[in-house]
C-alpha cells in the first residue's frame, strides 16, 4: 500500500524454508537437500500421504530489528512448533534459522546454550515458572545458570521486576500469584538476560480477557522502552492486530500471508484470511496514513491530524468538510484523507482476491 517496508530495520532473525516433520522416517524426505524447495504444498501433501505429520511446511519469514512480528494461527496450524524451531527447542527437519546471519541449526550444543543464555528470551503460555523458587529467584534463574553471583543477579532481577510492575512481590512463590502476575514473572525472567530476540508463545492466552488487554498494554509499554526484536505467537486475531507491526498467518503448517495488519485487511490473500478480516472493525485499524492521497489543492482551514490517527476519529470530519490533512512529525504535510479516498481504498481491498501482500 502507500507506505512500503522501506522503514524496516535490518533483519535480525530469519527463518528459511523450515520444515518440521514428525514420524519414523521424517529425515528421509529431505535427503537431497533441495527436496524441500519444490512446491511446498504438494510436497507436504506427499509427506502427509505416508502417514507422517507435517507440523511446518517450508516456513519462511524475516524478523527485523525492533519490530513486533506476530505469527497468528488457529490450533494445529504449526505456530507453536515454528517458534520452538526458532530456539531449537524443537529440532527442525530441514531449513535454515539465521540469527544475526549465522545458521542456528549448525551450532553445537554448547554454542546453542550460549546463544540461549544471552541472545534469546522466551515467554510461555502456561508460564513455565519453577514452582520451588520465589519470584526474584525465578527471574534470576537464567543468570544463576550462567554462574552469576547472588548479589549481582538479584540486582539485575530487581530492575526487571520494577519494569514489569512486580515490586513488593519478590518473596512470593508462583502458587501465590494470580495468572497475570505469574506471566509478569515469566516476562521478567525472559528479559533478565537482556536478549536480542524475544519469543513469546501465546503469552496472554491463559489469562482472562480483561487481564489480557491490560497485559497487552503493559507489553506494548515495555516494548516502547526496550525496542526488542519480537516474535509473538497468538491464536487471537484481535490481539495480533493490536500488537503487530507485521504479522504472518499460518494454516496447516504453512504461512498463508505475511504483511502489516492493514495489508491483510485491505488485501486478504485468500478466503481463509478474509474469514478473519471481514468482522474486523476496519475504522479502528486503519490509520489516516493508510488511506491518504497526495495533496492536490489547498489545505487551508482543514483539520490536521497525525499520521497514526485512527480513521474512526476522523470519520465525522469526512462528512462535513473536504477532507482531513495528515501531517508528519514536524508538521509537514504528508497527504489528505477524503471520503472518496476512503471508499476507494476499501473497494480495492474487497475486490482483490489473489495472493498478494509483502511476502
Amino acid at each position: 500500500m502507500k507506505t512500503s517496508s522501506s522503514d524496516l530495520g535490518p533483519v535480525v532473525l530469519s527463518c528459511r524454508n523450515v520444515w518440521k516433520v514428525y514420524g519414523p522416517r521424517a529425515d528421509s524426505f529431505f535427503r537431497p537437500v533441495s527436496a524441500g524447495a519444490r512446491d511446498p504444498a504438494a510436497r507436504a501433501a506427499e509427506i502427509r500421504a505416508t502417514g507422517h505429520i507435517v507440523a511446518n511446511a517450508s516456513v519462511s519469514f524475516d524478523v527485523h530489528k525492533g519490530e513486533i512480528f506476530v505469527i497468528m494461527g488457529l490450533s494445529g496450524s504449526g505456530k507453536s512448533t515454528i517458534v520452538r524451531c526458532l530456539s531449537r527447542l524443537v529440532e527442525p527437519t530441514a531449513g535454515e534459522i539465521l540469527l544475526d546471519g549465522e545458521d542456528l541449526l549448525k551450532k553445537s550444543t554448547a554454542e546453542l546454550i550460549e546463544i540461549r543464555r544471552h541472545k534469546l528470551g522466551m515467554v510461555f503460555q502456561s508460564f513455565g515458572l519453577m514452582p520451588h523458587l520465589n519470584v526474584i529467584d525465578n527471574i534470576a534463574f537464567p543468570l544463576k545458570l550462567q554462574g552469576m553471583g547472588e548479589a549481582d543477579r538479584h540486582a539485575r532481577a530487581a530492575r526487571v521486576i520494577e519494569l514489569v510492575g512486580l515490586t513488593g512481590r519478590e518473596r512470593n512463590y508462583p502458587s501465590e500469584l494470580s495468572g497475570g502476575q505469574q506471566q509478569r514473572v515469566g516476562i521478567a525472567r525472559s528479559l533478565a538476560v537482556e536478549p536480542e530476540v524475544w519469543l513469546l508463545d501465546e503469552p496472554f492466552s491463559a489469562l482472562d480477557p480483561l487481564i489480557r488487554k491490560q497485559m497487552q498494554d503493559e507489553f506494548l509499554r515495555i516494548q516502547r522502552k526496550l525496542h526488542k526484536s519480537i516474535v509473538f505467537i497468538t491464536h487471537d486475531f484481535q490481539e495480533a492486530l493490536r500488537i503487530a507491526d507485521r504479522m504472518a498467518i499460518m494454516r496447516d503448517g504453512a504461512v498463508v500471508q505475511i504483511g502489516r495488519p492493514i495489508d491483510l485487511i485491505l488485501n486478504p490473500a485468500d478466503d481463509y484470511i478474509r474469514d478473519f478480516t471481514q468482522d474486523v472493525p476496519w475504522e479502528s485499524i486503519l490509520r489516516a496514513s493508510d488511506i491518504m492521497e497526495p495533496v492536490s489543492g489547498t489545505v487551508e482551514g482543514l483539520r490536521r491530524v497525525a499520521e497514526d490517527t485512527s480513521v474512526a476519529s476522523v470519520l465525522p470530519d469526512l462528512g462535513s468538510s473536504a477532507g482531513v490533512v495528515v501531517e508528519g512529525p514536524r508538521g509537514t504535510v504528508l497527504g489528505i484523507v477524503t471520503a472518496r479516498g476512503l471508499a476507494a481504498s476499501l473497494a480495492l481491498g474487497c475486490a482483490q482476491t489473489g495472493p498478494s501482500g509483502s511476502a
Binding site: I113, G128, P142, L199
Partner: protein
C-alpha cells in the same frame, strides 16, 4: 450383538464344563486334586541353588552383614546415649519445622507416652533401624527411579520387578535374606530397604516425568546444560512427588522393621508385640501397639509436612531463628540432664503399667460376653465362611444349619438361582445373569469343591473379557505355575479367605463411602479413622481382634476387613464427590430425586473410581492376609510362614511368588476394567 451372544455362549459353556467337572471329579482323581506325582520340583531346585549360593558366597554376604552392623550399632548407641529429654526435644523441633505447633504437641504427647509406659529403649531400637533403612531406600530408589526415567527399556524391567517386590509376601523375602546374611538386625534392615525402596522408585519416575514441559522448555531457554536442567529444574520441580515417595518409603520401612522382628534378635517394638501376643499378654501388646501406631502417625505427618512445605512460601528469617532457638534449648536441656539424672534416664520406678489392669478387664469382658462372642464366631463360620470354602453341599447339615440338604432343597436352589440369573440377564445385561450363575455354582460346591481346571478356566475367561488374549495368557500361565508347583490347594484357601474379606470390606466400605459422600459430618468422622488405619503397621491391626476372638480364621478375616475397608471407603467417597459439577447440575435440572441422582447418575459415573478402590481393597487384603498367617490363616501365607520358620527357602519363595501372582492377576483385572470404563466415560484417570 453377535459379540455379546458369543461371549454369553462361551460363559454358559464354561459353567457347563464346571458342572461336568464337579460330577466327574468323584471318578477322576486328578480333577479333584492335582496329583502329587505331577508336581514339578521347582522348590527343590531353588533350594539346591540357594544352598549352593550360601555355601560358596555366604562369606560375601556375611561380610556385608558385619559391615552393616556398624552403622546400626552406631545409630543405636547414639540414640541410646541421648538423654530422653534431649531426644524428645529434637523430635518436637522436627515436627514443628515440618508442620507447626499442633504436630509438635502431638509428638510431645506421643513420645511422653512411649517414655512413661516404659518402651523408650525398644522404640529407640526400632527408630535406629528406620533411620538407617530410610536414607538407604531413598538413595537406591531415587537412583533406580532416575534410571527408569532416562531409559524406557530400563523402565520395562523395573516396573514388573517392583510389582513383584511389593506383592510378594514380606515373610517370603525375609527367608533368602536370612539364609544369606545370617541372623541379626541386619536382616531386618535389608528386608526393610528392599520393601521400602519401590515406592520411592515409582514416585521418582512419576515426579520427574510429570514436570510440565513448559518448565523444562523454560529451563532450556534459560540456557541450562544437561546437568543443570536435571538438578536445578527437573528435580526441584518434582520435589513434591519425591517427598511423597520419601513419605511412603518411610512408612513401608517402619512397617517392615516391625514385621522383621518375627525372626527375633531385635529388642524392638515389633518383637515386644509379637512376644506379648504369643504369651497372650494382650494388655501389653495393645500398649506397645499404640506406641507403634503413634510413632507411625508422627513419622507420617512429619514427612508429609515436609512434602507440603516444599511448595509453601519460605519464611527464611523465622526459620533461622528457629534453628538458633532449638540449638540453645538443646544445650540448655543437656546441661540440665547432667544435673538431674531424671531427665537423662527415666527411672523404672516411675513407669506406668496399666497392662495388668487391662488384661483383667479384657478377661472380664470375655467371660461376660462369652456366649455372644461365640455366637458371632459360629454364625460367621457356618453361614459365610464354611459355605464359601466347602459349599452349601458340605456346610448344610443338621449340626450347623439345623437341617439336612435334601434333593428337594437342591432342586429348589438350582431352579431359584436359574430364575434369578434369567431375571438379572433381562433386567441388566446377560453378563449379570452369568455372574449370578457362577456365584450360585461356587456357593453350592465351595471354592475347594471345584476342580482346579474349571476354576482356572473361569478366571482365564474373565481375564480374556477384560484384557483380551494377552491378559488371558498371563493369567493362565500364572495360575498354571501355582498348580504345577503344588501350591494350588493352599492358593484356593488364600483366595477364599481374602475373597470373603474383600467382598465384605468392599460392600461395607462402599456403603460407608456413599454415606460419607452425602454427609459432611460422616465424612469428617470417617476420614481421621481411615488415616489412622492406613498409617498403622499391619501388625498392630491384628491385636484387638486376637484379643477378643483368639487365634483362627475368623480373626484373620476381621483383621483383613479392618485394613482393606479403608480404600473401599476412600475411593467411593472420592469418586462420588469428584464428579463433574455440570453433570450433577444437569441431572438436577432434569428433575431427579436425590435417590435417582445417586443411583442413576452419580454411582454409574463413579463406578470406575470405585473399581479402582476395589483394586486397592484386594491388594490391601492380600497384604494383610500375609500377616494374618501369624494368627492362624491357612492358605499360602501359612505355607510361607512355615517355610520361614523351617528355613525352607524354595518352598517359601515359590509360595510367596504364588501369592504375588494372585495379587498381580487381581490387580491387572480390576485396574484394567476400571481404566477401560473410565476411557468410555471420558473421565480423567487419576
Amino acid at each position: 450383538m453377535a459379540q455379546v451372544d458369543r461371549c454369553t455362549a462361551l460363559w454358559i459353556g464354561a459353567i457347563a464344563i464346571t458342572l461336568i467337572g464337579v460330577l466327574l471329579q468323584g471318578r477322576l482323581d486328578w480333577l479333584a486334586r492335582y496329583p502329587e506325582a505331577w508336581v514339578l520340583p521347582v522348590a527343590d531346585v531353588v533350594n539346591a541353588v540357594s544352598n549352593w549360593v550360601v555355601r560358596h558366597f555366604a562369606w560375601i554376604f556375611q561380610g556385608m552383614s558385619a559391615l552393616l552392623e556398624y552403622p546400626i550399632r552406631a545409630v543405636q548407641k547414639g540414640l541410646h546415649a541421648l538423654p530422653w529429654s534431649v531426644a524428645m526435644l529434637l523430635f518436637c523441633i522436627l515436627a514443628y519445622a515440618a508442620s507447626g505447633w499442633r504436630l509438635a504437641l502431638f509428638t510431645l504427647g506421643a513420645s511422653a507416652y512411649m517414655l512413661t509406659i516404659g518402651y523408650w529403649d525398644a522404640g529407640m531400637n526400632t527408630l535406629s533401624l528406620v533411620a538407617i533403612s530410610v536414607p538407604s531406600a531413598i538413595l537406591v530408589g531415587f537412583a533406580i527411579g532416575v534410571w527408569g526415567f532416562r531409559s524406557a527399556r530400563a523402565e520395562r524391567v523395573i516396573m514388573p520387578t517392583l510389582d513383584v517386590l511389593q506383592t510378594v509376601p514380606t515373610f517370603a523375602y525375609l527367608l533368602p535374606i536370612l539364609m544369606l546374611f545370617g541372623f541379626g538386625t541386619v536382616v531386618g534392615l535389608i528386608a526393610s530397604i528392599l520393601y521400602s525402596f519401590p515406592p520411592m522408585v515409582r514416585n521418582t519416575i512419576l515426579g520427574l516425568r510429570r514436570v510440565a514441559p513448559e518448565v523444562i522448555e523454560s529451563g532450556l531457554m534459560a540456557g541450562a546444560t544437561r546437568r543443570q536442567l536435571f538438578w536445578q529444574v527437573r528435580v526441584p520441580s518434582a520435589r513434591r512427588q519425591l517427598m511423597l515417595g520419601v513419605n511412603q518409603a518411610t512408612m513401608a520401612s517402619l512397617s517392615m522393621v516391625i514385621i522383621a522382628s518375627v525372626i527375633g534378635g531385635t529388642a524392638d517394638l515389633g518383637w515386644e508385640v509379637l512376644s506379648t501376643i504369643r504369651k497372650a499378654q494382650f494388655g501389653e501388646s495393645l500398649l506397645v501397639g499404640l506406641v507403634i501406631a503413634l510413632m507411625a502417625m508422627v513419622i507420617d505427618r512429619v514427612t508429609i509436612g515436609f512434602a507440603g512445605a516444599s511448595d509453601r512460601s519460605g519464611k527464611t528469617a523465622p526459620r533461622n531463628s528457629l534453628w538458633l532457638f532449638a540449638g540453645m534449648a538443646i544445650v540448655l536441656i543437656y546441661g540440665a540432664c547432667l544435673m538431674l539424672p531424671l531427665l537423662y534416664d527415666w527411672p523404672a520406678a516411675y513407669r506406668i503399667n496399666p497392662a495388668p489392669l487391662m488384661n483383667e478387664a479384657l478377661s472380664g469382658f470375655i467371660t461376660a460376653f462369652r456366649t455372644q462372642i461365640e455366637a458371632i464366631k459360629t454364625a460367621a463360620f457356618y453361614f459365610v465362611m464354611l459355605p464359601a470354602r466347602i459349599g452349601l453341599q458340605g456346610a448344610v447339615s443338621p449340626f450347623t444349619w439345623g437341617f439336612a440338604l435334601t434333593p428337594g432343597h437342591q432342586i429348589a436352589y438350582a431352579l431359584g438361582m436359574i430364575a434369578l440369573a434369567l431375571w438379572s440377564a433381562r433386567r441388566w445385561t446377560p453378563k449379570a445373569g452369568i455372574a449370578v450363575l457362577i456365584f450360585a455354582v461356587i456357593y453350592f460346591f465351595g471354592l475347594t469343591g471345584l476342580p482346579w481346571p474349571t476354576l482356572i478356566l473361569i478366571l482365564v475367561l474373565l481375564s480374556h473379557g477384560i484384557g483380551g488374549a494377552a491378559m488371558a495368557l498371563g493369567t493362565a500361565l500364572g495360575l498354571l505355575f501355582i498348580v504345577v508347583t503344588g501350591n494350588w490347594p493352599a492358593a484356593v484357601l488364600s483366595i477364599y479367605l481374602c475373597g470373603i474379606a474383600v467382598a465384605i470390606a468392599f460392600t461395607l466400605g462402599s456403603a460407608i463411602g456413599i454415606w460419607a459422600a452425602q454427609n459432611d459430618r460422616v465424612s469428617a468422622i470417617v476420614r481421621p479413622i481411615n488415616d489412622t488405619l492406613q498409617t498403622m503397621p499391619l501388625f498392630v491391626i491384628l491385636i484387638p481382634f486376637v484379643m477378643i476372638f483368639k487365634i483362627g480364621d475368623f480373626t484373620a478375616l476381621l483383621a483383613i476387613i479392618a485394613y482393606a475397608i479403608v480404600p473401599a471407603i476412600r475411593y467411593t467417597e472420592h469418586g462420588l464427590r469428584d464428579l463433574p459439577e455440570t453433570v450433577i447440575e444437569a441431572a438436577r435440572m432434569i428433575g431427579t430425586t436425590p435417590r435417582q441422582l445417586l443411583w442413576q447418575v452419580k454411582i454409574p459415573l463413579a463406578l470406575p473410581i470405585m473399581m479402582l478402590g476395589l483394586n486397592q481393597t484386594i491388594l490391601y487384603g492380600i497384604a494383610m492376609l500375609v500377616i494374618a498367617a501369624l494368627v492362624g490363616a491357612n492358605g499360602l501365607e501359612q505355607t510361607v510362614y512355615i517355610a520361614l520358620t523351617d528355613g525352607n527357602v524354595g518352598q517359601g519363595l515359590i509360595a510367596g511368588l504364588a501369592m504375588a501372582i494372585i495379587a498381580i492377576i487381581a490387580d491387572r483385572m480390576t485396574s484394567g476394567w476400571s481404566r477401560r470404563r473410565q476411557a468410555t466415560l471420558g473421565l480423567d484417570s487419576q
